[in-house]
Structures are given as structure tokens and as C-alpha cells.
């Protein structure tokens, strides 16, 4: 009995475990060795020279400092703006609140490259925003290319949703009775905030802030385009070291630094999420105030006006880029309405800008999307069944050591940026058929990126199944497979669909790893958008991006219908 189950376990686990080991862990370890001059492919000699050379380069030092700084700056802005937003969403009721909340989520689910083009369409040089401002004042309001404020603005816009969605749970979990008691005892608002609300909010706020920090710190597409030579994150720096200068050992050394910083943040994140019980669902009933009622005192009215201003401003920077993409896709350079940007996607002439006919890029993207959808979901299913097999068959001890190891291995890809993933794959397999067959390498990279998300969804819906159902079914004589097909599978289907859509959406919007691995004559939609932005063909780029907007928003609408959208790692 034991042997049979162990056999099953090995079979179930061998695929996902082997996949992670071969394509993730070993390449990553290889990078670490490469940083010290040890490589499987070239002459090797242990040395600190690479690390020293990379870290003593003044530009690397500066960009490391700058990267941390911009990530912190982004985090602070997001926390301040997002906390106010979630407070209002929780404590007031008004028309279109659900709609507004969903709207605030949109930027986060969009691929960075789409956010970028939306940003350029709205605040770029030729945008109506800057043009109107210029006609009013004579100079443009904001220059997003090669400026600090442009990058911060884009990052803030991208990350506000994380704070709003997570701290909303925090506000809801605050015990209202405590506040009422404090009020009756004469506590000031500040006292209530600092003594009751803040301590309750802090853990989840910190977790959310760490997430924002890690997203901003590893930002690639936005900084690659907006930063130019002036501003580069470590991610961009590694990309250009490895991809344009072919300095693999230098890039590996820099990657090591980046991975270490990411690991510190992730460990802190995991520590905090397990230490404090983060509120997962709404626990307390909160008395919501109506937004408007007749005969309001002036002070209250003033507060409402402030809230309104907040929504107009934040809503503005949240909505504008999305509407900007769609608007830019249907306006010609002269400012008239046109569909010519879409027509250009069928036009062969655009090939000279992006190196491949757009239709091929769309096909490539769809191919990867479907491939990753199948691969990531399948691997996640196998992993969960392999790990949980003993909970369904009674009388067997859990193998916790393996479980812990797997747990770490599964969560680890989240701490590794997409460029690091692509670079580690490339550095180990660049002479093998895996890289020769570029499609394979990109597929693997996308699967690695999507896998943790798919795994999370599957494992959540797997653990929601009552284990007694399985044992009852088996004790009644049904085989394990029959039990799976008849009982568990129907219950798992929503989870599987969500995992599939999640993987699909992640793959179709992935830019960093794809552009790293894609050879000169091979690309997907995001790579095409990047090429078009680099040549400032904003119209066709926007129409390309609109396709992605529609696909991602549709995917996430279905996900929201089927289950809860999880922004947490």
C-alpha cells in the first residue's frame, strides 16, 4: 500500500518537480556560479573579479541606488494615495462604487507594456493632454521621456490598485465597537487612528507596500522605454549587459545582487504574512455613510468635496491611460477619427518597423498563450495531486520535508524577475536545442512565470474539496481515477478555468523574458508594441495594445465571475 502510493507520488511529482528543477533551479544555481566565474560551458576559474568589477563600476552603483530609491518613492506615493482610496471605498456608499472599485483594479491586471503605451498615448509629446496644455500655457505640462517624474508616475499608476485592494480588507477588519467605545470616552480622531486603526492596518499595509516595492524595483518595460540612458533599473542593466554587450559573467554578478535583494523582500513578506494573520475576508460590519444627504453641515460638505477631488485626480490617472490607448488607436496623427491604425496591422509595410508581419506576432502570442495555459495548469494539477495524495488515503504520514522544499521551490519563481529567469535559461541552454528552438525557450519561460499563479489557484480550489467525499467514494468501491473524474474534477473545473485564464493572460502580456529570448526575426505582440514605441509609431502600437486590453480585461472579468481575484502572491 505504502509502496504503491509512493510510486504514485513519484509519478505525479516527477513532472512538475523535474520541470522546476531543470528549467528553474539548476539554471539559477548556474547563474550564481557564473557570477564567480564558474560555468558549465566555458573555461572556469573561481574568482571574485566579476562581482568586484560590476559592483565597483560607478554606473552600476548609481543605478542600484537609484533603483532602490525610485521603488521606495513609488511605494510611498502608492501607500498614501491608496490608503485614502480604500478608506473611502469602505466607509462611504455611493452610486457606482463597485464599478469604481473594479476600475481601480484594471491597471494592475494589464501587462506593463500596455500601461506604458497608455501612458505615452495620454501624456506623451503628441497626446491631446499635452497639446491642450501647450495651447493654453505655451509649454508642455509633463515630459515623460527620460525624466524621473515620468517613471514614478507610471509606476504609481500601475501599483495603486495593489494597495487599494489589499488595505480595503484591512479597513474592514477593524473592530467598529472599539472605535465606538473610544469615541464615547472622548478620544480624538487622531488617537483613534493611531491607537486602534493603524495597528490593525499595519501588517497588511506593510505586506502590500513590500509587493509594490518589489514590482517597482524589478520594473522592466516602463523603465526601458521611459528611462533611456539616464535611468535604468537593475533589470534593464542586466538586460543590456547580457543581451547587448554579451558580458555574461558581469550580468550574472549583477543578477546575483538583484536576486539577493529580492529574496530579502520576499522573506520579509513571507514572514509578515505568516506572523500576522492577514484579514482575508470581511469580518466586521462597517456602518457606511451615505455620500450625500440633504442639510449637511459645511464641514462635512467640505470633506465630501475633498473626496470628490480625490476621485477625479486618482480616477483620472487610473482611467486616462486605458482610455488613452483606445483613443490613440482610433485617432490619426492629425487628430481625426480613423480605423487606419487597425488597417496598418494587416498592412505588410509595418513589417519594416517591427521585423515581422503583425499577424504573425498575434499568432505567436496566441500559440504561447495556449501552450502556457495547458502546461502551467497541468503542472499545477500534478503538483497538487502529488503533494496531497496522502491526505486522501488514510493512515499515511505526510512527508513534510518534501512539502517544505516544494513549497519553497514553488514560491521562489515569484522572487525571481523575468529577465533573471530568461537570462538563466539562456546562459545554460543557449547551445542546446532548447534555445535553438526559440519557441521552446519562450514557452518554458512563460510557464515558469505563470506557474506560481496557476498553482495558487489550483491548490486553493483543491483544498476546498471536502476530503471525506473522496474517502466515501473510495470506500464505496470507486477507483481513485473514477473518484477523481466523477467527484473531484467537477468541483475543480472553476479553479482549472481560472488557472488557465490566469496563465493565458500572463503569457500573452509577458514582455521581458520574451524580448530577451526572442531572436531577431521572432516576436510576440508585446515585443511588437515595444518596437513600435521605440520608433514612435504610437497609433499602430495603441491598436496592437487594444487587442491585449480586450483579451486581458475579458479574461479577468471571467476570473472575477468564477472566483476572487487574488492580488497577493
Amino acid at each position: 500500500m505504502l509502496q504503491k502510493n509512493t510510486l504514485f507520488k513519484i509519478i505525479y511529482l516527477s513532472l512538475p518537480l523535474g520541470f522546476l528543477l531543470i528549467f528553474f533551479l539548476i539554471p539559477l544555481i548556474h547563474i550564481a556560479f557564473l557570477a564567480f566565474g564558474i560555468s558549465l560551458l566555458d573555461i572556469t576559474e573561481f574568482t571574485f573579479e566579476n562581482l568586484f568589477r560590476v559592483l565597483s563600476h560607478p554606473l552600476n552603483q548609481y543605478f542600484l541606488y537609484w533603483d532602490v530609491q525610485q521603488a521606495l518613492l513609488t511605494t510611498i506615493f502608492c501607500v498614501v494615495i491608496g490608503l485614502i482610496g480604500s478608506y473611502i471605498l469602505v466607509h462611504y456608499k455611493f452610486l457606482g462604487k463597485t464599478f469604481l472599485r473594479n476600475l481601480f483594479t484594471i491597471p494592475f491586471i494589464l501587462p506593463p507594456i500596455v500601461v506604458l503605451i497608455g501612458f505615452i498615448a495620454t501624456f506623451g509629446h503628441g497626446s491631446w493632454f499635452n497639446r491642450t496644455w501647450e495651447s493654453l500655457t505655451g509649454s508642455i505640462l509633463i515630459d515623460i521621456y527620460n525624466t524621473y517624474e515620468g517613471i514614478i508616475l507610471a509606476h504609481v499608476f500601475y501599483n495603486i490598485p495593489v494597495i487599494i485592494r489589499l488595505t480595503e480588507l484591512g479597513w474592514r477588519s477593524i473592530n467598529q465597537d472599539g472605535i465606538a467605545v473610544a469615541k464615547s470616552l472622548g478620544a480624538t480622531r487622531l488617537q483613534i487612528f493611531s491607537k486602534i486603526q493603524l495597528p490593525k492596518l499595519l501588517p497588511i499595509l506593510t505586506v502590500a507596500a513590500l509587493l509594490v516595492f518589489i514590482y517597482a524595483f524589478n520594473s522592466f518595460a516602463i523603465v526601458l522605454v521611459l528611462g533611456g540612458v539616464q535611468y535604468q533599473t537593475l533589470e534593464v542593466r542586466i538586460y543590456s549587459l547580457a543581451k547587448s554587450e554579451f558580458d555574461f559573467s558581469g550580468a550574472a554578478a549583477l543578477t546575483l545582487v538583484q536576486v539577493l535583494i529580492n529574496l530579502v523582500i520576499i522573506v520579509l513578506y513571507l514572514f509578515l504574512s505568516s506572523k500576522y494573520e492577514l484579514p482575508a475576508t470581511e469580518s466586521a460590519q462597517i456602518a457606511v455613510k451615505p455620500f450625500y444627504r440633504t442639510h449637511m453641515p459645511v464641514k462635512e460638505l467640505l470633506g465630501r468635496v475633498l473626496i470628490l477631488i480625490y476621485f477625479i485626480l486618482v480616477g483620472g490617472i487610473t482611467i486616462l491611460p486605458i482610455t488613452g490607448v483606445i483613443l490613440a488607436s482610433i485617432t490619426s496623427p492629425e487628430g481625426t477619427l480613423t480605423l487606419s491604425n487597425y488597417a496598418k496591422l494587416y498592412d505588410y509595410s509595418i513589417k519594416s518597423y517591427i521585423g515581422l508581419p503583425p499577424s504573425n506576432m498575434i499568432l505567436n502570442s496566441l500559440f504561447f498563450g495556449f501552450g502556457v495555459m495547458i502546461l502551467a495548469t497541468l503542472l499545477a494539477l500534478l503538483l497538487n495531486y502529488g503533494l496531497n495524495i496522502d491526505t486522501t488515503v488514510q493512515g499515511l504520514p505526510k512527508i513534510s520535508l518534501l512539502k517544505n522544499f516544494m513549497g519553497i521551490l514553488v514560491i521562489l519563481p515569484l522572487a525571481i524577475s523575468s529577465i533573471t529567469l530568461a537570462f538563466s535559461l539562456f546562459s545554460l541552454y543557449r547551445t542546446t536545442f532548447i534555445y535553438e528552438q526559440v519557441l521552446g525557450a519562450i514557452l518554458i519561460a512563460h510557464t515558469l512565470i505563470a506557474f506560481p499563479f496557476a498553482n495558487r489557484v489550483i491548490s486553493a480550489s483543491r483544498s476546498a474539496i471536502d476530503p471525506s467525499l473522496v474517502s466515501v467514494s473510495q470506500s464505496l468501491g470507486a477507483s481513485r481515477l473514477k473518484t477523481f473524474i466523477k467527484i473531484e474534477l467537477p468541483l475543480l473545473i472553476p479553479g482549472i478555468i481560472v488557472a488557465c485564464l490566469f496563465s493565458f493572460a500572463i503569457s500573452i502580456g509577458e514582455f521581458g523574458a520574451t524580448s530577451f529570448l526572442a531572436k531577431a526575426n521572432f516576436a510576440t505582440i508585446p515585443v511588437g508594441i515595444y518596437r513600435l514605441i521605440a520608433t514612435r509609431n504610437i497609433g499602430p502600437a495603441a491598436s496592437f495594445a487594444t487587442i491585449l486590453v480586450v483579451i486581458t480585461i475579458a479574461s479577468f472579468m471571467i476570473i472575477e465571475k468564477l472566483g476572487k481575484l487574488e492580488l497577493r502572491l
Binding site: 510510486l7 513532472l15 530609491q69 510611498i76 539616464q230 501552450g371 497541468l378 500534478l382 535553438e436 470507486a478
Partner: protein, 421 residues
């Protein structure tokens, strides 16, 4: 029960089968999708009879069908000629060095008289070539590119500032008629200028060498024309110029009126592009006039045979064809550069609109090949350090500290709680 047990045994097999079908399925989709892509890499390793590395804009505007035309001459089918267009010339050198032990390419096109110095030992990656028509190639160019003939010149032209004369002309900007790098810096023109990144782009590198040759480099005791420091020019210019990654990117931004960048680093032959094709004379080229002479950096681009090339015979035939009078006569109006073959035809519209390298003072004579091979990478690296504006942290610094403080609050609170307990 019996049946159940049986099923239990079959079950892992079934799952394994499912997995296998998925893998096979995905591989087939993979291949079918690959065949949908006309220029996919698949056949590169199998059936290619000729692989060429070049940059994206070689003979690209108007498009010249290199594969088709060579196929007619050589009989090699068009599908088996692979032209890999890399983003810019720097990448060709890097790829070449990278694949030193296992060459994938047969031919490299686009390594110029500056980039050649990034290769320490040419005999390791290239082979000496002397096609039959080598005597038709301008011997001066051969001497200036590579006397050993690891690379043979196929075209040449001077780097210049290329501008739209409807916006920029001597009425609107009088400094244009006697432009120097100094006056460029103080003129409003500087904020309209697009420069390619010399780390990635060969005209960008040419422009960097132009500034170095004029101002000199005191750190290596190189006086240049004016015995000053090239770094000063760049550190004053960096806030105003737009730096792009490749010449192609710069060219597209140049023609986008919204960007308001009507002047860029390009070639003395660039005005011929509009003039020969559409009789459009709205673009011109200008050089700088230090020491009362017109100064320019000459770029000579070369073609080379990769050492241990997989398809050596085909490659040699290609090089012979590429340097022939026939192709070289098509070169000016597709590549917009002067052909290296002295017998090649150059149309009058081309010569009319372009600046010929012979009419200017060539800065190349100031920077010797040995200086290039010693300092080129260092210059590229230093350029980046000069251009990146490393501001001493000001108000942002306060935010950084504030952020770090915010992150420590949870720890402080926990300590407080412990104390209270």
C-alpha cells in the same frame, strides 16, 4: 473491488499517457505554428546554405531583395539564404566573438572602421579574403578599413548632422552656416538633436569619435583639434539631446512631427534619400567648421568571411557578388552610401544631394588605429558615465529615508507590545 484495483494500476499509466499526448500535441502545434512563420529559425540549422549577420537597415529603404537577387546569380534557392538582421552593428561584432568556437554565420556585413577595433585578434574570427574583383575596390578604403583584408569595404560615407531645412535653415538659425560643435551647444538646435547611442549604433559611435577627434582627450594626452576635453561637450549636451538605441529608431522619430526633433546624427549622403526618390529637397546635411575647415568622421563599412564558416564556398561567391559592379551600382540608392567599387555607377541626383568625403577634412587621420584598439571600449563606457546624470540626492533623499523609516514601524510596534506584556 477487483475492478477498482485494476483501475488503480492503470491510472498512473493513463495520466502518463495524457501528459505525453499533451507534450506531443504541443510540439506539433509548435511546429505547425513555426511553419506559419515564413522566416523562422527552424531551417537555419538544417537546410541553410548561407547565413549572413547584418544590421536591420542594410539595403532596406527602398527594399532590395538580397536573397532573391543572389539566388538568381548563384542558383541557391532563396529560402536557403538566411539574413539575420541584428538591431545594430555593435551586435554583429559581439555575436561574431561569441560564436568564435561554433560559428553559425558565414558572412558578417556592417562592421566598420571603428567597430573592427573591438576585435582583438581578427584571425580568430575572420578569414582573409581576396575575391577576384578586389582590384576594383578603392585601395584607399582598403587601407583605411583593414589593410590585412579580413574585412573588405563595400560602402563609405561621412557622418553628418541631417536636418529638415523647412524648419532649420540659415534664416531661422543663422549659426547653421558656420556651425561648430561649440555653437551647436549654445544654439536652440541642440534640443532638437537626436544622437544614437554609441554603445549600440555605428553612426552614433562615429559621432562620438567626431567629438573626441575635435576636442581631444586630456586623460590619454590626446590633443585632438582643439586640445580640450570631449567629456565637457557631452556633459553640457546630455540634458538637451535625445539618445536613441539605433539609427532606425532615430530616423523614425526624426520624421515624426509630434516629437519636434528635426535634426539627427546621420550621413552626408542622407539628403539623397528624399531627393532621388521623390525629388524632395527638404532635407540637408551639415558638418562642423572648427579651425576654418569642414570636419567629418568617415565611416567605411566592411564585409567579412567568418572563420570556419559552415558554407564557405557559397560565402565566397556571395562576397564576390556583393562587391561586384552590378550590385555596387544599386547600392547608392538603396543603402544611401557611396559604393566602394570604383567602377560602380553613381547617379547624378545622388552626388548632387550628398557631401562627398573627399571635399572635407577627415577626422579619422587624427585618431590612429592603435588608439582605437586601445581606447574604444573605454570611450564607450566613459561616454555612458558622462551622459548619465548622477544627481546628488536632493529632496528625493528625504523620501528614501522616510520610506526606510516607514518600513521599520512594524518592528518598533512589536517591540512596544513586548514591553507592555
Amino acid at each position: 473491488m477487483m475492478e477498482g484495483k485494476k483501475m488503480g494500476k492503470i491510472q498512473p499509466l493513463l495520466i502518463l499517457f495524457l501528459i505525453l499526448t499533451c507534450i506531443i500535441g504541443s510540439i506539433t502545434i509548435n511546429f505547425s505554428s513555426a511553419s506559419m512563420n515564413e522566416n523562422i529559425d527552424l531551417n537555419m540549422t538544417n537546410t541553410s546554405e548561407l547565413v549572413i549577420y547584418t544590421y536591420d537597415s542594410l539595403l532596406a529603404d527602398p527594399y532590395y531583395d538580397i536573397e532573391g537577387n543572389f539566388s538568381k546569380v548563384s542558383g541557391i534557392s532563396k529560402e536557403n539564404i538566411q539574413i539575420v538582421r541584428l538591431s545594430d552593428a555593435n551586435e554583429i561584432v559581439i555575436r561574431l566573438l561569441q560564436e568564435k568556437d561554433q560559428p553559425e554565420a558565414d558572412i558578417v556585413i556592417g562592421i566598420d572602421n571603428a567597430l573592427i577595433h573591438l576585435i582583438d585578434n581578427k584571425s580568430e574570427v575572420l578569414e582573409v579574403i581576396s575575391p577576384q574583383n578586389v582590384n576594383e575596390i578603392d585601395s584607399n578604403l582598403i587601407q583605411n578599413l583593414d589593410a590585412e583584408q579580413y574585412l573588405l569595404p563595400y560602402d563609405f560615407g561621412i557622418i553628418s548632422l541631417y536636418y529638415q531645412n523647412s524648419i532649420i535653415n540659415s534664416q531661422s538659425y543663422p549659426e547653421l552656416s558656420n556651425l561648430t560643435l561649440d555653437t551647436l551647444l549654445t544654439s536652440p538646435l541642440i534640443s532638437m538633436l537626436i544622437v544614437e547611442n554609441p554603445k549600440f549604433s555605428s553612426p552614433g559611435l562615429g559621432f562620438l569619435l567626431w567629438t573626441i577627434a575635435i576636442y581631444g582627450d586630456p586623460e590619454i594626452n590626446f590633443t585632438g583639434l582643439l586640445s580640450r576635453d570631449w567629456r565637457d561637450w557631452w556633459s553640457l549636451a546630455k540634458d538637451d539631446i535625445l539618445i536613441t538605441k539605433s539609427w532606425g529608431d532615430a530616423f523614425d522619430i526624426f520624421f515624426n512631427p509630434e516629437e519636434e526633433k528635426p535634426i539627427m546624427v546621420s550621413y552626408g549622403t542622407s539628403p539623397a534619400y528624399g531627393f532621388c526618390q521623390w525629388q524632395d529637397n527638404t532635407t540637408s546635411a551639415v558638418l562642423t567648421h572648427e579651425n576654418n575647415q569642414e570636419n567629418a568622421w568617415l565611416q567605411i563599412e566592411g564585409i567579412g568571411l567568418v572563420r570556419d564558416a559552415p558554407n564557405k564556398a557559397n560565402a565566397e561567391a556571395f562576397i564576390n557578388w556583393f562587391l561586384s559592379e552590378e550590385l555596387q551600382s544599386d547600392l547608392p540608392e538603396h543603402q544611401w552610401m557611396y559604393p566602394a567599387n570604383i567602377n560602380a555607377n553613381v547617379s547624378t541626383c545622388f552626388t548632387q544631394a550628398s557631401i562627398h568625403p573627399e571635399n572635407v577634412t577627415r577626422l579619422n587621420d587624427l585618431i590612429t588605429p592603435s588608439m582605437l584598439s586601445e581606447y574604444l571600449t573605454q570611450w564607450q563606457d566613459e561616454w555612458e558615465q558622462v551622459v548619465v546624470q548622477r544627481t546628488i540626492p536632493g529632496y528625493e533623499y528625504m523620501f528614501t529615508t522616510l520610506g526606510l523609516l516607514l518600513l521599520t514601524i512594524p518592528i518598533l510596534i512589536r517591540r512596544n507590545k513586548k514591553k507592555q506584556l
